[in-house]
Symmetry: C2
Subunit: 265 residues, 2 copies
């Protein structure tokens, strides 16, 4: 592996260089294979370079030529080199350098989107991306204080779901003011029980900070204050866990509501 590439890959551990170069790292067999497969890489994220071990070449021998056609540069490297330039502790077999999608606002009409108001932990963000993908949510508005979507830890924790969920980083309070919606959901201790909430199919689910929840600044744009009912004594739930439970209750409600409407016809 050329020193130039080694320096580049290592520099992409760092947010500043990711945005300077317009590139980010994708590590791990599952994520990289999904990145190189059009059916799973639905946004069409482009790949600049691939570095893989002889073991990977052997296992994917049938696909290697088609993978290589998709990238500007590829090289077989030792597992030691791969580990020294990447961020994973485990025995990884492939690493891709991919092009950062542009940070453009998206049209969010007619669907549900997540808004992340200050999620700081990369593991939490990655898990939230995976949950969004599971529940068919493909857009995520992120406050500028939310940890970087394209950091290697987030990409790894998302287990390939970063390919189906698009972030848009902006000043979240401005965004919510300018994109008025009467279906903005946010969890608070004094909200309405989510089991009884008449969720709409379209709108925004706001997820607050891990320690402090949703700030007052953002809270003024929440039209529906909701609460996950508690049956025991834990003081709170982790932000990703709360996201999953809210998304599940939302989808479940839409499903039952739709089947109820269908029966009425």
């Amino acid at each position: 592996m050329l020193k130039r590439w080694q320096r580049l890959v290592k520099s992409l551990h760092n947010k500043k260089f990711r945005y300077q170069e317009g590139l980010f790292l994708v590590e791990g067999e599952k994520s990289v294979v999904e990145l190189l497969t059009p059916e799973t890489n639905v946004q069409g994220i482009e790949v600049e370079a691939l570095f893989y071990t002889p073991k990977f070449a052997q296992e994917y021998v049938k696909y290697l030529a088609s993978f290589q056609k998709k990238v500007a540069y590829s090289e077989v490297v030792t597992q030691e080199i791969l580990q020294s330039v990447g961020t994973l502790q485990t025995n990884d077999s492939i690493l891709a350098v991919a092009h950062l999608p542009q940070n453009l606002p998206f049209d969010r009409a007619d669907e549900m989107v997540l808004a992340l108001a200050d999620i700081r932990d990369p593991g939490n963000l990655g898990t939230i991306i995976r949950i969004a993908d599971w529940y068919g949510i493909n857009k995520m508005i992120c406050s500028e204080t939310t940890t970087d979507f394209y950091s290697p830890k987030v990409i790894s924790a998302s287990m390939g779901s970063f390919l189906r969920v698009r972030p848009y980083y902006c000043q979240l309070d401005n965004y919510l003011r300018e994109n008025f919606s009467d279906s903005v959901y946010g969890a608070f201790l004094d909200g309405k029980n989510i089991y009884e909430e008449d969720f709409k199919a379209h709108g925004i689910i706001v997820i607050g900070n891990e320690s402090n929840g949703i700030s007052d600044e953002i809270a003024q744009y929440i039209s529906h204050r909701i609460t996950i009912p508690r049956f025991g004594k834990a003081e709170s739930l982790n932000a990703a866990i709360a996201t999953a439970i809210i998304c599940d209750n939302w989808k479940r409600h839409i499903l039952f509501h739709k089947s109820y409407q269908d029966r009425k016809r």
Copy 2:
């Protein structure tokens, strides 16, 4: 801090020494304060020693005498010492050495319990303990391959919920064979939609391994194969996320079923 104590505290990072000494570590202000408060320490876990910074002593000046009465030994130490003997990277202010509860089987009649079949990641286990506590589940049967409940990472991630949830480590397949129940729930890809499952109030929810799910060995004792419906493209959900969604659907079902039964009367 005496060298003897420093050595003991450091040794408790390690599972072997925790079980040899019959002691474990509780770190972090929230967890230790809950441990020292009878209302939150519902199992009555006993505390051997406390080490805290002058800052903690100042903040909890009103409670310090009552805290000290509960322990055999206590000492004010510098933040540097605390950090050097503990496992937390953050600026911690207190650490407790507590007595390991005995590993005794519990009577699980008339309630729902979790069974952890090979949960390996301490962060996941801690999060699952917190979820159990939120949903009022207080007992957890753990396979012997499940990571140690009393490891410092698990205790920290449980955010105090380790005080309300009791584990029992055993050979899980033997346990399930000997404690027959016709309400043993486990998630599989081909199970029944959890939105339509007629959950019972009492029984066992089995949570499988992070990568491989529930093994064939354990699967034979599952009476109800369930599935979390998927609406998007993520391949799977994290084990703790799946636990939360199953527990939420279970409690929700019991609640609505009960209110339906009450209305019928």
